[in-house]
Symmetry: C2
Subunit: 334 residues, 2 copies
Amino acid sequence: MPVNKGIVLASRPPAAGKASLANFAIFEKELGEPGPGQVLVRHEFLSLDPYMRGRMDEARSYAASQEIGQPMIGGTVGEVVASKNPHFAVGDKVVGMGGWQTFSIDDGAALRKLDTPGVPIQAWLGALGMPGVTAWYGLNRIIAPKAGESIVVSAATGAVGSVVGQLAKAAGARAVGIAGGAAKCAYAVEELGFDACVDHYSDNFDADLKAAVPKGIDGLFENVGGKCFAACLRRLNDFSRIALCGAIASYEGKETTSLPDLRLVLVKRIKLQGFIVSDHLDLWPQALRELAGLYLAGKLKWRETIAEGIEAAPKAFLDMLEGGNFGKQLVRLA
Amino acid sequence: MPVNKGIVLASRPPAAGKASLANFAIFEKELGEPGPGQVLVRHEFLSLDPYMRGRMDEARSYAASQEIGQPMIGGTVGEVVASKNPHFAVGDKVVGMGGWQTFSIDDGAALRKLDTPGVPIQAWLGALGMPGVTAWYGLNRIIAPKAGESIVVSAATGAVGSVVGQLAKAAGARAVGIAGGAAKCAYAVEELGFDACVDHYSDNFDADLKAAVPKGIDGLFENVGGKCFAACLRRLNDFSRIALCGAIASYEGKETTSLPDLRLVLVKRIKLQGFIVSDHLDLWPQALRELAGLYLAGKLKWRETIAEGIEAAPKAFLDMLEGGNFGKQLVRLA
């Protein structure tokens, strides 16, 4: 019997405060056999994503809270190592919501077999997974860029933002990123093909942003909020669209992100729309097909930050909330 | 030769301040003959609308400023009394942008002949005109109500709001108005067929609103902003839509209307969209056809406040900005 090792939520962070390592605890537990209809999956990679922070609080978010004492939820890819489910065989590679642990037992209903040759397995947690579909939905279904328009995305080198920029380029738009630091900005332009990327740590951030969008902003894919959002508001064009995906600058009790004057929305006929990708499961097959096609054609790149071993997950997660990752944050589990 | 009498913008209101009678001046001037291709129209009614307030300022709004010394712009209905345009004959009833004056000379390009029997001419300035199409666009194209949903509209007995409520009912939705005073609220329910109407002057406004939308708000047609908007924000459902049409509570330097925390938009997947009906001229024929059909079927009612004579226009306009009108504000000119 394998020994499963994982991380539970030990306690909730203080209200409107920061999460810390003390909120997590490690566990080890021998696993039983999978029961009838179940499969045992050995996880190879765990995905760390900002949405998890919301789950750590008492339910105030769109999703149920993470239960205390239970393994943290999270997306995983891995291999079936025992199966009593006729749809899965030992050796199948699968993606699912296995959580922050090295193994999971699953009834298979929400597991998906990975059978696209030429795709590294962890991509299904990133550009070809939830973050990629998030980018696809917000860009294509809310912003709907036209050729020649200027699209700005914050957290531009993250798992979502990097896909947004590349999809915007594929649509013939000008892609402008906002990222933290010169290295990320250089990567966005040189590797991901953004037309420009603005460093939000720069003292000249506002002026740099203005220079990067000389014709204003037609579409804003907002992951961050805070001062990045405020600066973008000043550059929005008539009929611009804002896809509101996250506001990480306002998490953990940090300053609220607001829209200070609704007359802007009226006068410029702006559309602002919040969305959560799990509301649109019907579109995932189309999105994943398009994203995989782009990848296999060499038009979708990304970068990963990989923490080693389940014990490293809590610190890697907290670092990510502060922008310490560079690209998709993963934990290697096997 | 007829003598044309009208109102010019004499001076701009103070920045972020109130307009006053001193900003207007009357003029009288003998008119010449219409030139080749022109028609002379005697106005029967002038429409007064909140958007005109924005035009009085230096251009900061979506539209050009009203020029000082020129007749105030405004929609008019009237009769052709002389024509050198082959498309118009003496006696034709027409709607156009004749301005705050008793006559206008027009090249006919933006005049529309009125030939629907059974419709009072001034309706083309109200429920079957710009305000009606505004209601139609915001409700049908932004909110898109489903049967059983709850739709809230502020300034519910005004020219736009009264149509919004009746269109919401026609779509099978629950229509809830917000209006100023018991008389307007009673009228909204008893005459216009709203399911409920909440008096924003009431000390119990928040509680009354909550009681009026026991299942929350799915669609908000916002004409007012300010505290009405803030109260509605607290009642918005997941996937609710806000059509932002106006923010009269924030005009003239009054308190700004804001969206204080964007996480609400994210968590509830809200769509907020500003719009201006003149961007959608392609849809006017469809909207007017549907609105006229509803009216002729007895399913579209409205109320008018009529000021008598062009001299009364400035005061009627200023009163309207304070909510002094009850229904569509018109000025009778002939």
